[in-house]
């Protein structure tokens, strides 16, 4: 654990640089954004408008995007970064670079269809006509006669910023841990990066898998637990960089992991697990009947809570940090700016801890669910009391 602490300390010490860079970037967008709007309207923003702009700025940075934006200058409208491929399925494959959208300003024509990016709205791609009007589909419910209007959106399989970062992290994880694995070929003692990662791997095995799953079954869950732990941790840490990455605070990402945990729990479950759901042993029959739907619901609520927990924690962390950084530009006084930079620095360190903690909790609870699924025990004995 000492090594881990040292690593965290070094990261924490490196954070001020990251914070400065981040608020510098934020500041540019923020200030110029505000001024830009002000010039357009020809007047200073009211506090309510300023608040709305700030909110949009922060929320925008927690969202996925179709390009990898590093820096943007809204006074000139210039965006620095690189575009990522957009892949759409709409009666055929449409592939083009996200730069074609010009940040929502232009309509893209691909194989006869027109698409536009709702940049200032929900940030999604919609099907439109050549003039940029979103196509709508009107359906009339035959029974009630209600008319519902749905905006047409293609199936979107784009390599977004989150997917791109995830690919990078996958590659990084693969090379890091293959390196660790290779280092054992020269001798059984850990060397190089293995010195840092081995205690963590052993921690996952001895503190997470073994006590929660049991000596008998823990081995087959180890690859999943280790992968999920390091994947979440690395992506959380990637979210701490000033690049505005927020993969783990995205509901689709956490849903993917939670569903995998649910599937593994369900498909490796032993007879006892189902017995506890369908016919809870050791309680009276009416209670068994009441417990059945509750337990069944519980199996779905557990991974659902897993999904929400990671998503909400990471998103909340990003929003709080973003809001604090925006506040730095709210004040004119240097002392106030400094105080808020300090506060942001402090919260950054807490977020570093949260990054590790959330990875740990996700892995821990997954292990707990696997443990309950693979548990085999003597009913008469266990429920006699």
């Amino acid at each position: 654990m000492h090594r881990l602490l040292r690593f965290l300390l070094v990261l924490a010490l490196l954070t001020p640089g990251a914070v400065m860079a981040e608020d510098h970037q934020g500041g540019h967008e923020e200030e110029h954004g505000a001024h830009g709007h002000g010039h357009e309207a020809g007047k200073e923003l009211t506090p309510e408008e300023q608040r709305a702009v700030n909110k949009e700025f922060v929320i925008h940075h927690t969202k996925d995007s179709y390009d990898f934006g590093i820096f943007s200058d809204e006074s000139t409208g210039a965006h620095y970064g690189f575009p990522l491929p957009v892949i759409l399925w709409d009666d055929g494959l449409h592939v083009f670079l996200s730069s074609a959208f010009h940040h929502g300003e232009e309509v893209v024509e691909s194989n006869g269809n027109h698409y536009m990016l709702n940049y200032h709205g929900d940030g999604k791609i919609y099907k439109c006509d050549a003039e940029g009007h979103i196509l709508e589909e009107t359906t009339v419910d035959e029974e009630t006669g209600e008319v519902s209007v749905a905006q047409l959106a293609p199936l979107d399989f784009s390599i977004t910023k989150n997917v791109f970062v995830s690919i990078l992290m996958c590659v990084l994880l693969f090379f890091v841990f293959r390196g660790v694995a290779k280092s054992y070929k020269s001798g059984l003692a850990p060397s190089g990066s293995a010195k840092f990662f081995e205690p963590i791997i052993v921690f996952v095995r001895d503190e997470i898998a073994r006590p929660n799953i049991g000596e008998k079954h823990y081995k087959k869950y180890m690859p999943y637990l280790l992968t999920v732990f390091f994947f979440i941790w690395f992506l959380n840490l990637a979210g701490m960089t000033p690049l505005g990455i927020n993969v783990t605070g995205n509901i689709a990402f956490t849903a993917a992991l939670a569903i995998l945990t649910y599937l593994i729990t369900t498909f490796t479950a032993k007879k006892d697990y189902w017995m506890h759901i369908v016919w809870m042993p050791g309680v009276p029959v009416p209670m068994k009947i009441i417990l059945f739907p509750i337990e069944l619901l519980g199996t779905i609520i557990k991974p659902f809570a897993l999904m929400i927990r990671l998503y909400a924690n990471m998103l909340a962390g990003h929003i709080v940090l973003g809001m604090l950084l925006v506040t730095v530009f709210y004040f004119g006084a240097v002392a106030a700016k400094g105080a808020f930079i300090g506060l942001t620095f402090f919260l950054n360190i807490i977020e570093l801890l949260v990054a590790l903690l959330q990875a740990y909790i996700f892995t821990m609870l997954s292990a707990l669910y696997f443990g309950s699924a693979s548990e085999e025990h003597d009913h008469d004995h266990a429920h006699a009391h």
Binding site: A305, I308, R309, A312, N313, Y360, I361, M364, L365, L368
Partner: protein, 67 residues
Amino acid sequence: MEAVEFIPKLVGAGLVVIGAGIGIGRIGGSAMEAIARQPEATNKIQTAMLIAAALIEGIGFAALFAV
């Protein structure tokens, strides 16, 4: 959303968050006491504390997202 419709939801969510906060606080406090009483069991107590806190936290988030 109408304000009248919004207020009960917010109040409900607030109550849930207060409850979750009290719960997590109690867990933390009890864990501290337990660690003070049995420092050699720190690891086990911490693990149990984190799990319990995480489960309550999940309920708090569920309330927030139900709004």
